[in-house]
């Protein structure tokens, strides 16, 4: 992690602007990948935000939370309740969601951070599972259980009615002062939040606070011996990442006003862990990359069926085509989980630093070749430990 400190402010500015350009230009460059439709791009931005926030906790401090989905869920429910009570403007919903998710994270973090390592993971997991189980069953009056919480025409929506926009024909869509937050505008709305989130993440990584968090990761005991209480720092990181999750949850509801309990299930928490590690925990861009890849495979690989496969492999001779299609069929469509599982294993086994590390390795290899094998080594980052 020492490498990051050497980065200059100038380099960061370039990185960040490149990132911004890439995000904002997604509707263009994602076309060849078949991913340039609003819903998937919204998901990229939202889950990217979720993973970036998670990375501030896990990537920097090394605390592995298995319960972050709970904050996503709290954010979602808060946002929908804000739509129901206040109105369809996303801004109050987002503000409330961040606040409430932050408060919830503070409570859970305050308790859970008394332990470290696997115990911390189990504590967060336990809290999230309790939230999920209750939301699905006894808390149905608040969460609408299995069906999910939605906005209804009969809801009060006080602000909307004050503005005279209370009566809506057709579907209730969130709108930002008249601009409907679905489709591409919805994506750009999420993208702006993603950029804000990314910017804050940059600043945290480069700040003394960020350094302190990294110090917790490398050796918490030593920090304690030097007389520094690390817990307030870790708790702050926990709350910040909880707020990111709350924001992501709210944005899920801004683009699609429905909050379901399964967002809080432990597998959902596991998903964000996987995203972060897949891309590269402790790196700035890794989590976004991981989130993109997982959401891409979830939406694209699962949609392949025999017919699509035949179209793809149609150029092969008949006998071979049949064989190829049946083998490939194991990994897509109903078998896309298998692909996901294999991908994780391969990444963790061979690239524990995530895809970003893989990128650096390739970069280093290319640089070595270019310079005749000389100074490529310095570009090699240390694996995130």
């Amino acid at each position: 992690m020492t490498k990051i400190v050497r980065e200059t402010a100038h380099g960061d500015a370039i990185r960040f602007s490149l990132f911004a350009v890439l995000i904002l230009a997604m509707p263009v460059w994602l076309v060849p990948f078949g991913a340039a439709y609003p819903d998937l791009m919204q998901k990229f931005a939202i889950y990217g935000l979720f993973a970036i926030g998670f990375n501030i906790l896990f990537g920097l401090t090394g605390y592995l939370s298995f319960g972050h989905a709970a904050f996503l869920g709290v954010g979602s429910y808060t946002a929908v309740w804000s739509f129901k009570l206040l109105g369809m403007n996303p801004l109050p919903a987002i503000a409330l969601a961040i606040l409430l998710a932050g408060a919830f994270a503070w409570v859970i973090g305050y308790v859970s951070l008394r332990r470290t390592g696997i115990y911390f993971a189990i504590l967060t997991l336990a809290f999230a599972q309790m939230s999920y189980n209750l939301a699905y069953s006894v808390l149905t009056p608040i969460t609408n259980g299995e069906t999910g919480l939605r906005v209804l025409n009969s809801d009060p929506r006080v602000l909307d009615h004050m503005m005279g926009a209370g009566e809506v024909d057709g579907p209730l869509v969130t709108n930002l002062f008249g601009m409907e937050m679905s489709g591409l505008p919805g994506f750009y709305f999420c993208a702006v939040w993603l950029l804000i989130g990314m910017f804050i993440s940059f600043r945290i990584f480069r700040s003394p606070f960020g350094l302190m968090l990294m110090a917790i990761k490398s050796n918490q005991n030593r920090m304690n011996y030097t007389g520094i209480s690390t817990r307030p720092y870790a708790l702050t990181a926990f709350v910040i990442s909880g707020m990111y999750a709350g924001l992501a949850g709210a944005l899920l509801c801004v683009t699609d006003p429905l909050a379901g309990a399964e967002r809080m299930q432990w597998t959902a928490s596991g998903e964000v862990v996987l995203m972060t590690i897949l891309g590269g925990a402790g790196t700035l861009l890794g989590p976004m990359l991981g989130a993109g890849i997982i959401k891409y495979s979830e939406n694209i690989f699962s949609a392949f069926n025999e017919q699509t496969l035949h179209n793809i492999f149609g150029f092969l001779p008949d006998g071979i085509e049949g064989a190829v299609v049946s083998v490939a069929g194991l990994f897509v469509g109903e078998g896309w989980h298998l692909t996901l599982g294999l991908l994780f294993m391969l990444i963790v086994i061979f690239l524990p630093g995530g895809l970003i590390e893989g990128g650096h390795r390739i970069q280093a290899a290319v640089a070595r070749r270019g310079k005749g094998g000389g100074s490529g080594h310095q570009a090699q980052p240390q694996a995130a430990e």
Partner: protein, 342 residues
Amino acid sequence: MDAILLQILNGLDKGGAYALIALGLTLVFGTLGVVNFAHGALFMLGAFCAVTFNQLIGLEKVTIDPTQTTPWGSPVEIRVPMIEEWLGPTGTFILDYSVPFSILAAIPVMIVIGLIMERGLIQFFYRRPHAEQILVTFGLAIVLQEIIKSFFGANPIPQNPPDTLRAAADIGALFGFEPGNIVYPYWRLVYFLFSAIVIGCVFAFLQLTTFGMVVRAGMADRETVGLFGIDIEKRFTVVFGLAAVVAGLAGVMYTPILPPDYHMGMDFLVLSFVVVVVGGMGSLPGAVAAGFMLGILQSFASMTEVKSIFPGIDQIIIYLVAVIILLVRPRGLMGRKGVMEG
């Protein structure tokens, strides 16, 4: 009173399953220091050993009756299990007792699976951070369950207990209670006994054999044992195999209670971790005690009387206990002081 006795029975029975799964998990953690998220998958693989065994011995000779057709146009098939044809009544008996018999098949299979897993994957993760261990074994668990799904489908596959053990025993009457009030399925009683025996065997193995002594020493202080020139890693491989067998057997015998499907490992995974943590990471007696304790607590929390006071308590009791234990006594019920204490 009867209700409480019955819930204690339920708790013991559940606890037996929890303890068996947690035992292997904590054994692996205590010796190898590996957090194995694929442990639930081992439980599931064990259950599918029973399914496969049953299907193999149940292989049928299919004769086609061309005079009749099914509504969807294919000829009607007459199926006779081959084993009945070959062995007569013995064959019928083996078919009937296929679940207990499949233990014999499951032990070697699970040992092999365990060894392959440890040598092929886990051994490279001894010195990696827990987070990476969790991730790689989680990935492995997904891969294993998807492979099973592609062979057996997603629906549960019923496994019958032997005919004589299919009914419920009136154990209340044995102890002088009014007959008919405390009845409990024979198979669940068998399961409880079975888990007690397996747990006993594992403890005896670790306490009474030299091999077990070395392993325990290795758990306590790996380096010193290594300094004595003992190849502790080789023994740990065997321990992993042992853990796989225990999980697998738990799965085999559970099939008549819970028709197995590809996802059952994941369903038990979180729970078994909670059991291990409550018992104390790396503590074998702790895992067993915690298994039974959580089983009994879960049973009581499900009683209508309790639920009417705390709505939804049965949904969260396990996690609630875990949180309380971890906060009040972080090393778990019986964890040694200083081991993984955070």
